[in-house]
Symmetry: C2
Subunit: 447 residues, 2 copies
């Protein structure tokens, strides 16, 4: 098992990172820089973020190096000097990283990861750090909403076929697992991350056999405890055939569930449940899929439809209602000099920062404060050291299971209003410390 | 240069493809199957699709094989018999593929790719074929709209930092290049696909230097023909500093353009153009970026703002307004037996099919017909043989440049109404041939 990106290329950069770093090099700018990764604004449809992707980033940082063919390509562009290409050849990430552990709940404006390294290293890694934390935090945040809507029912990730590439499918499975999903259909994700994999049959199986009854019978011969897909031709006729097969097989009938994948899922689940129960098949579960997201799941759960588990695919795997986050990676300090930018609607906070979270007497989160790292503020600091001198720090449990448990705990400690799907609520309070605000105002007045 | 997926794992499958194929194997179902890949419905906001991703799929099909560690993992699941794992060990794709060449315009309901192979092979590759054609067609279709809106102005892909993973950034760059983009900031895409790469500086460069004037001066020393980013603190003050630098450097000032990345881009472009022209810097171009998509570009172009080129990132790279397509891969024939499914709202067309496109006397596409492959219908057949017996067929030019030229030609031949961003127009007419309709009705009545 590994959390490495399937694409460890050092060329996963925007060209300007290379042109800038060459210019840093030629201008002798080699100070230690601190960059903050944060989401400027939450998308409509999100009350919070669930942080994920850190393990993937750290693996990339540990492994990143330019290969001979990378350097040959860069040389061919005619923009880079030999001494800079030699610098790249020997470049390894030697910096420090502090971050919110995977599975932490975060809000807009809060640094979720902070890199401190020689400016060339920190700058070169901008795009890959953004890209990987963005993907997994995006999907984990969407998946967390589905988990809240499912209210304890089973959830399986079905996203792979329509995610944006296979890497997105792989890390989307990982992110939804962190958020609380039970399993994935994605076999690669099972192999890489140890996530339980599940899946049974598609419509093509039913079509390929001479008739539906024969399709069910022969599949059950191979997989006695399977889930049968009943909607290829007519759902209730499919259910009747499952019942007929149970009668035919008697005690050796061990099918676990039927799957509904189209039509009016509420009405079909109710009707199927009645027919199954009437046939003494109370123990057969009903699994539903087909264009589901947190709203679809909430509607099915709220209706009381007798559905035991959901397969959630495309709308989760592409975060359909909010397919990107306004994530940025901004220079906040160079050596002892705190820095900011003032671009319209895109201003940043200067200095090396920390985020503190205060809880009430029931352990429920009530307020976050973004402050300077040497501020003395109440609450628990959320950014913890995860990498020092380019090496991951042993310390907390950074396994996928630990992230999943952390996420469950964090969701449990969110204010109740944050846990509903409604996003018209009052946003969670995130304030800026007095000292940080004073520093920002002082620098802004001088720019 | 290669079009191979960065992730060639044979485990990029949904588990049910493996369980089904084992069941085919054990039941002696080994006929030749034909599967169709098509998009059921266009998303709101799209009048047409621009097909891309074929080259990537064909490379995957040629290379796909299960590794020893893949098989070891599958064995560990306890669901697969030794003889089936041995079958997988030796499995290579031996089938035929017909497809619309990359850069072809397609519509809902039209097979854009058809696989004919032993059913085990065709079934196992379902997910990876869907995933790769989905991603590239999704982004190419979005990018085509941006290209139409830009009306000849330059376009650069800036998507990588917020695409869904690095693979999505890589193939998104490829797809937008097919659609007509001029360049990308994505260095890996430059190396892999030969796409021109471009990029200059970020705000961090300006912040890292002592002041903006010094930042411009020292960057231009390294890159005399660069593009200067002017909005870090105050855009018009940044423009004034560019002009001051031009005066300071005289004849050696060769800066190509300034970049605006925030604020009111129309007003700032007009004001910057005036200031630059008044200083005799008419040849300096204005480049705009910041949350652009086809609507933003159209608005800027329509305003007459003096902007020469656009950087388009997140909203393109995640296809923000339509982040997925309703793409499916459906069994249509097994040996001589045409097949269909009737699931509510998800019914399919049976048999081995072709798509014909008719044009009017000006070469403009006027109607498509989906028919049986042996139908005799007017127009040009769009699906062409691209792979036979598991090997790519040499034939047409399948280079990226050829796909780009094809796309330009296809967009040129679309009915004028299809080329506007407005999607409330009458859909392009796609009909089903009489023989195909008769076959469907006949099979539906027997199901």
């Amino acid at each position: 098992m590994t959390t490495a990106p399937p694409n460890p290329s050092a060329l996963v950069v925007d060209l300007y990172e290379l042109t800038m770093t060459q210019a840093y090099h030629l201008n002798g700018i080699d100070g230690r820089a601190t960059f903050d990764l944060f989401v400027r604004r939450l998308p409509a449809g999100r009350n919070f973020l669930l942080v994920a992707g850190l393990a993937t980033v750290l693996e990339h940082l540990e492994r990143m190096q330019f290969s001979a063919s990378d350097l040959e390509y860069l040389d061919s562009l005619g923009e880079f000097r030999t001494d800079f290409l030699e610098l790249l050849e020997h470049l390894r990430f030697s910096g420090d990283v502090e971050a919110m552990p995977e599975g932490t709940v975060a809000f807009a404006g809060e640094p979720i990861l902070r890199v401190t390294a020689p400016i060339i290293e920190a700058q070169l890694l901008e795009t890959v750090i953004m890209n990987q934390v963005h993907l997994q935090t995006l999907i984990a945040s969407k998946a967390a909403r589905v988990v809240l809507a499912a209210d304890g029912r089973g959830l399986v990730d079905f996203g792979l076929r329509r995610t944006h590439g296979t890497e997105s499918g792989l890390f989307g499975a990982r992110a939804s697992r962190i958020a609380g999903f039970n399993a994935t259909s994605n076999v690669e994700a099972g192999e890489r991350f140890g996530i339980p994999v599940t899946g049974t049959m598609a419509h093509s199986w039913v079509q390929a056999l001479d008739d539906e009854m024969e399709a069910f019978r022969s599949f059950v011969e191979v997989y006695p405890e399977t889930v049968l897909l009943v909607d290829t031709y007519d759902t209730m006729r499919g259910v009747a055939r499952v019942i007929a097969l149970a009668e035919e097989l008697g005690g050796s009938f061990k099918v676990r569930a039927i799957r509904l994948d189209s039509g009016d899922l509420i009405a079909l689940a109710v009707a199927a449940r009645e027919r199954l129960d009437a046939a003494g098949l109370e123990r057969i579960q009903i699994f539903a899929s087909g264009n589901l997201d947190e709203y679809g799941v909430q509607k099915l759960v709220g209706s009381g439809a007798p559905i035991d588990a959901f397969g959630v695919g495309t709308r989760l795997g592409t975060s359909e209602d909010a397919p990107n986050l306004d994530i940025v990676y901004k220079l906040a300090q160079l050596d002892d000099r705190p820095l900011l930018k003032l671009s319209t609607d895109k201003a940043t906070l200067p200095g090396v920062k920390q985020v503190w979270r205060e809880k009430d007497e029931h352990g429920v989160a009530v307020r976050d404060t973004v402050g300077l790292v040497d501020d003395d503020l109440p609450g628990r600091p959320l950014l913890v050291p995860v990498m020092g001198g380019g090496r991951r720090l042993s310390g907390g449990d950074d396994s996928l299971d630990a992230a999943r448990e952390r996420a469950a705990d964090e969701l449990h400690r969110l204010p109740a209003a944050m846990c509903c799907l409604d996003t018209s609520i009052e946003p969670y309070p995130v304030t800026v410390s007095n000292r940080l605000r004073a520093l920002r105002d002082q620098l802004a007045s001088k720019a």
